[in-house]
């Protein structure tokens, strides 16, 4: 097994990109990642393309080949992967596997969505699923987790709001964030209700956008300035046991534990985390699964500012999905983009001082009260 390195990252700001097509956005992000890595496109010997909505919205297939050929990358194996909100990070998992095995020296992952279109409704767990047909939309899943967490642990609306306030405060320091105007807890709780107790400012918006990473072997990394070590890549699907404990998310705990084990690290070793704050309650649940606090104490952790920049374990210094917007194919890659910038100490006013260990965490898909996928990636400089 070779060690795996992150050689370059690229992304375009996530926004409503009304005039751009997906292949062009993804091509730009990929070109930026290659440029950042200093690696010639001709050396890429495996490519992954991640998108969750492209086939559904555009009836388009094998989009990855179109994206890579924009960069002159042809002939090599290219894989189109879909894994709901973890589509991008699942691509990273496969690329890391290929490099660890020596099946690729340089592998790329590109992901993106063009989803800000009228046909796009709320995300759900698949149109033919019974849950979907009974009216389950993704915000409702998390709202029900929130209600249970409040009932079991006394988590408060103000604690949840604190997550949104913190992430927006971080976003004000991040030119790549889509939403960067500071907000108060009052703003959060007074924003339009989505699914009780979640209000609009507690739910990440969708976005158009693309991001890309270049991964490489230790041999190639030696020639590459600023390459970071990928210390762990973990991916677990759900266990779907019935009943699910919706206040203690087994799949989340299991994946985090696996990543720590693979990296030989523990929660206290982390300098920063980018986690899947698709909803405020999600970030609170992830604190607990990541072992940043005891089960049930996630709300308190946020409210006390411990996960804010300047606190002991900054979470989502980028502003997170709540500020960036969430194009599922690109989200997992954008999280790694932020880790790279932080671990290279190029994050400017939002820099976590001396950051040397970062973790990116992503979850996606809803099934039987569980998640269909959870990924955790740990980087060190």
């Amino acid at each position: 097994m070779s060690d795996v390195y992150l050689a370059g990252v690229g992304m375009i700001p996530f926004r409503v990109h009304k005039e751009r097509i997906l292949v062009d956005m993804a091509g730009e992000a990929a070109a930026l990642a290659l440029q950042d890595s200093g690696i010639d496109p001709g050396r890429v010997d495996m490519g992954f393309f991640a998108s969750a909505t492209t086939a559904v919205l555009y009836k388009d297939v094998t989009v990855g080949q179109n994206v890579y050929w924009q960069l002159g990358i042809n002939r090599i194996p290219i894989f189109n992967v879909e894994n709901a909100c973890t589509s991008g990070s699942t691509g990273i998992y496969l690329a890391c596997n290929a490099i660890a095995a020596g099946q690729a020296e340089v592998a790329m992952v590109v992901g993106g969505e063009k989803m800000c279109v009228p046909e796009m409704g709320l995300l759900n767990s698949g149109a033919t699923e019974l849950d979907t047909q009974l009216g389950l939309v993704t915000p409702a899943s998390f709202a029900m987790r929130a209600a249970r967490h409040m009932a079991e642990f006394g988590t408060t609306l103000e604690q949840m709001a604190a997550v949104a306030v913190k992430n927006r405060r971080h976003a004000a320091l991040n030119p790549m964030a889509q939403f960067s105007k500071p907000i108060s807890a009052e703003d959060v709780l007074a924003s339009p209700p989505i699914a009780d107790p979640l209000t609009r400012l507690q739910c990440c918006p969708i976005a158009d956008g693309a991001a890309a990473v270049v991964l490489c072997s230790s041999r190639v990394a030696k020639e590459t300035a600023g390459a970071l070590r990928v210390r762990a890549w973990a991916y677990c699907t759900g266990d779907y046991q019935n009943p699910q404990d919706m206040a203690r998310w087994g799949t989340d705990y299991r994946t985090c534990a696996k990543a720590y084990e693979l990296a030989g690290l523990k929660p206290g070793d982390l300098d920063l985390v980018e986690c899947h704050d698709a909803f405020t309650i999600a970030e609170i649940l992830h604190y607990e699964a990541l072992g940043l606090c005891e089960p049930g104490q996630g709300g308190r952790l946020a409210a006390e500012g411990q996960t804010a920049l300047g606190g002991p374990i900054p979470v989502n210094p980028s502003g997170g999905l709540l500020s960036r917007g969430h194009p599922p194919g690109a989200t997992g890659l954008a999280q790694v983009w932020e880790l790279a910038v932080q671990l290279r100490h190029q994050a400017g006013p939002r820099q976590v001082p001396g950051a040397s260990v970062g973790l990116a965490h992503c979850m996606g898909g809803d099934k039987d009260g569980d998640s269909k996928s959870c990924t955790v990636i740990i980087l060190t400089n």
Partner: protein, 151 residues
């Protein structure tokens, strides 16, 4: 009249509830694996634990509300706005299932409350035709249960 209209509607998904004539004996219908003694809702094509055949199994009509939400964005499938969803711990089989909650119960919802199954025209199917969906409505406390919500 409600009943008349209901009879012309089809269930949103076939086979997930049943009732004898007049609405008596209404219950959710799922599956049971005779080899593994496990219950399922909905009934899967095969048992995940033994790959064997799963028998059709009535799952009763009562349970306790584990968690819930009131959805206030534009509803899918022509559901009322707002509408409520919850996970319900069914009596007698240990299953925690997703269900719609009665539209008229939105301000009475409380974790731990007792619920009883109902079926009515609620929203439309994928094609836009009105259809029957199962939902849970508030029920009197379980005889064997104290007054404390199960939290």
């Amino acid at each position: 009249m409600q009943a008349d209209r209901d009879q012309q509607c089809q269930p949103v998904v076939p086979g997930i509830f049943r009732a004898s004539s007049g609405g008596q004996g209404l219950e959710l219908v799922g599956g049971h694996c005779p080899a593994c003694h496990r219950y399922y809702f909905p009934r899967p094509p095969r048992c995940p634990y033994c790959l064997g055949q799963v028998e059709e199994q009535g799952l009763g009509a009562t349970g306790t509300l584990y968690t819930y939400t009131v959805v206030r964005v534009r509803p899918p499938y022509g559901l009322p706005s707002p509408y409520a969803l919850g996970y319900v711990d069914l009596d007698g089989n240990g299953l925690r299932v997703l269900g719609l909650l009665a539209p008229e119960s939105l301000d009475k919802l409380e974790i731990g409350m007792r619920l009883r199954l109902a079926v009515g025209q609620l929203g439309c199917d994928v094609g836009g035709a009105p259809c029957l969906r199962p939902y849970f409505e508030p029920a009197p406390p379980h005889p064997s249960q104290g007054m404390q919500p199960d939290v």
